[in-house]
């Protein structure tokens, strides 16, 4: 049996459509079977509420008198992109204000507008014959704008990686606070309730279909930026009228150490047309798999520590390499549920009819990494290959002489086999001298936990290591931990100095 969309819409109109949330669907399919569920259920509603950085809104402010062609625009001190037309601008959620005392950004402006507060519009211009005015400052409410159209280039991920951190310092990321040595796992997404998890083949989710966007009726524009459905990371571009949105489903947020983002509630209704759709909407947390990615690797391709399901993640802990690690989410399941329930209510009360995509999204597409024409410099390109080192059994006096003779501040310490076991600096040596002379050998004063780099590491990553650890040199080691060079802040200075001169 198949069902037509017209039939479903007719039922919505006369109030007889059976609408369930994606959370209820697996149980119904278990009970009635696929054919039975197809007969019984007309629409499945989904929902998610989490951080969606790639959000923002177009505004049209109307014309002032005398008129101005706004070249630069700020809303509450957050700059919006004004290179569109005289009185239009796009405000991105992650754009930050130039405020020193607190982190405030586009997301906060959007939330305040939706909450009914005034925001200050400030704009400047060179002035033209047709637009003579050169500056303007005014206070605006959302209702004062001609249009406030939310357009989110990349929202509602098909799934998202979970995050952990194998390094020994806390990381502050867009996936939240990641404790050292895999102290926690953070994840995002509503699992069984997530819109795209219920239609992974993009059969009924595509351009033009109506959705719930932050409390308003919105629609899917098309594939989101970085859409990569072929690898399980499809995304949507969505739009909706901000004037109808509600603060409950649109909340500004700050990820500590990362920046501003926006929490958005999105729900997509799925018409139950055939058993294929019944099957995909019967998805459970157990069936939705994702990788726990090590955010301690500061590269594009980060290693996966384990594959887990949303059921594992939502249970509160997962096992990785024999250890139990506590998990918690960044997105709100409670609000995802509220989205799905409200959408269900809209449809049951005939406030929203469904549509099929006017253009389908490519379920096989994969996004590409950036093409880089200038290879980013690696440590090997600038490191100093003339390494002066010392062995751990040498006397401190010898180390001091060596430091002086070679005018260096850092001596990597090697063991009998030539592998790196420590590092000493001029500071360590001077400290040893002022103590009562009990310390004799290099191994008594060396730092054993050496922060190091490899020849392949991008220079930017090495530079961050120096900065974060407040040190001025890194030994460069090969895969067997043999020292092949040393990278100092001075080498870096040369590189960046050179870049600027060009």
């Amino acid at each position: 049996m198949e069902k037509s969309l017209d039939l479903i819409n007719a039922r919505i109109r006369d109030g007889t459509a059976r609408v369930v949330t994606a959370e209820e669907m697996p149980g119904i399919v278990d009970e009635l079977g696929e054919e039975g569920a197809l007969e019984e259920v007309d629409v499945v509603t989904t929902g998610t509420f989490g951080a969606m950085c790639s959000s923002g809104a177009f505004f049209n402010f109307g014309h002032a008198d005398p008129p101005i062609r706004m070249e630069r625009v700020w809303l509450n001190d957050v700059e919006a992109y004004a290179g569109i037309a005289a009185v239009d601008a796009y405000l991105g959620a992650t754009q930050e204000a130039d405020a020193k005392d607190r982190l405030y950004g586009g997301a906060h402006v959007l939330e305040e507008l939706v909450a009914g507060s005034t925001v200050e519009l400030r704009a400047t211009s060179r002035g033209t014959d047709c637009y003579p005015r050169r500056s303007i400052v005014t206070e605006l409410l959302l209702e004062d704008m001609n249009q406030a159209v939310m357009v989110n280039p990349r929202n509602a991920y098909q799934r998202y990686n979970a995050a952990a951190n194998t390094t020994d310092r806390t990381l502050h990321t867009y996936m939240g606070t990641l404790l050292p040595r895999c102290g926690n796992v953070s994840y995002s997404g509503a699992g069984t309730l997530s819109p795209l998890a219920n239609d992974p083949g993009f059969r009924v989710i595509g351009s033009g279909i109506p959705i719930f966007l932050a409390g308003a009726q919105g629609m899917v524009v098309g594939e989101g930026t970085q859409h990569s459905a072929g690898g399980g990371f499809g995304t949507l571009m969505v739009t909706g009228d901000m004037k109808r949105m509600r603060q409950e489903f649109l909340r500004a947020a700050v990820m500590n150490g990362y920046g501003v983002t926006l929490y958005v509630g999105i729900g997509v209704p799925i018409p139950v047309l055939d058993t294929g759709i019944v099957r995909s909407t019967a998805v459970r947390d157990e069936d939705i798999l994702t990788d726990i990615i090590d955010y301690g690797t500061p590269r594009r391709d980060r290693p996966s520590l384990a594959k887990v399901s949303y059921a594992d993640l939502r249970s509160g802990s997962v096992e990785v390499g024999g250890e139990t690690i506590r998990t918690s989410s960044l997105s709100s399941y409670r609000r995802a549920r509220a989205v799905a329930l409200e959408l269900k209510d809209w449809i049951e009360r005939g406030k929203m009819e469904l549509a099929l995509p006017t253009r389908l999204l490519d379920p096989t597409k994969r996004s590409k990494p950036m093409r880089e024409t200038a290879v980013s410099p690696r440590v090997r390109d600038i490191m100093n290959r003339q390494v002066i080192s010392i062995t751990e059994d040498e006397e401190i006096r010898v180390a001091a002489k060596r430091l002086l003779k070679d005018e260096t501040n850092h001596l990597p310490v090697l063991d009998g086999n030539g592998t790196l076991v420590g590092i000493i600096t001029t500071y360590d040596v001077s400290k040893a001298v002022v103590t009562d002379g009990k310390l004799r050998q290099v191994k008594d004063i060396m730092t054993r936990k050496v922060i190091k780099t490899t020849p392949d590491e991008p220079v930017d990553v090495a530079a961050r290591k120096l900065e974060q650890n407040n040190i001025s040199a890194l030994p460069v080691v090969d895969t067997t931990n043999r020292v092949v060079g040393i990278l100092s802040a001075i080498d870096l200075g040369k590189l960046f100095g050179g870049r600027r001169r060009r």
């Binding site: 939240g176 909340r251 947020a253 918690s328 960044l330 709100s332 399941y333």
Partner: protein, 132 residues
């Protein structure tokens, strides 16, 4: 009950130079659990946990010795209007103060809190703060 003790260590006679906690334990016989201590050359801040019944006694004695005492009733406070029940605070807390109830609403058992401050920084919505 949790008490937050603050004392100066600047002068020779300041309470921070004396073994005040040990002295109170010895005198009163009340067992004190030190949950957190930040002490530098100028000042100190110590969070202690003691049985409720002995709180008055311990407090009075510490104050006599020149220590400022604050009772920490809700060490970490949740602003329900700001909280979206995301759960970002749950896995960062070493004391398992946070959890979800059956409705996926955040539950806070602040009596276990040792004021490490991790959750306050981790909350994306600024919903958590330290009391006082």
């Amino acid at each position: 009950m949790k008490l937050l003790l603050t004392f100066s260590r600047k002068g020779k006679a300041d309470p921070g130079r004396e073994p005040v906690i040990a002295r109170v334990v010895k005198e009163t016989g009340v067992l004190v659990n030190v949950e957190k201590a930040n002490i530098d050359s100028m000042a100190g801040e110590v969070l202690i946990d003691i049985p409720d019944a002995d709180a008055d006694l311990v407090r009075r004695r510490l104050e006599e010795m020149g220590v400022a005492v604050r009772v920490m009733e809700n060490a970490v406070a949740l602003d329900e209007a700001e909280c979206v029940d995301c759960g970002a605070c749950i896995s960062v807390c070493p004391q398992e103060v946070f959890s979800f109830d059956e409705e996926w609403r955040l539950r806070v058992r602040s009596e276990r809190c040792v004021l490490c401050g991790k959750c306050i920084q981790a909350c994306p919505h600024g919903a958590l703060s330290q009391q006082g």
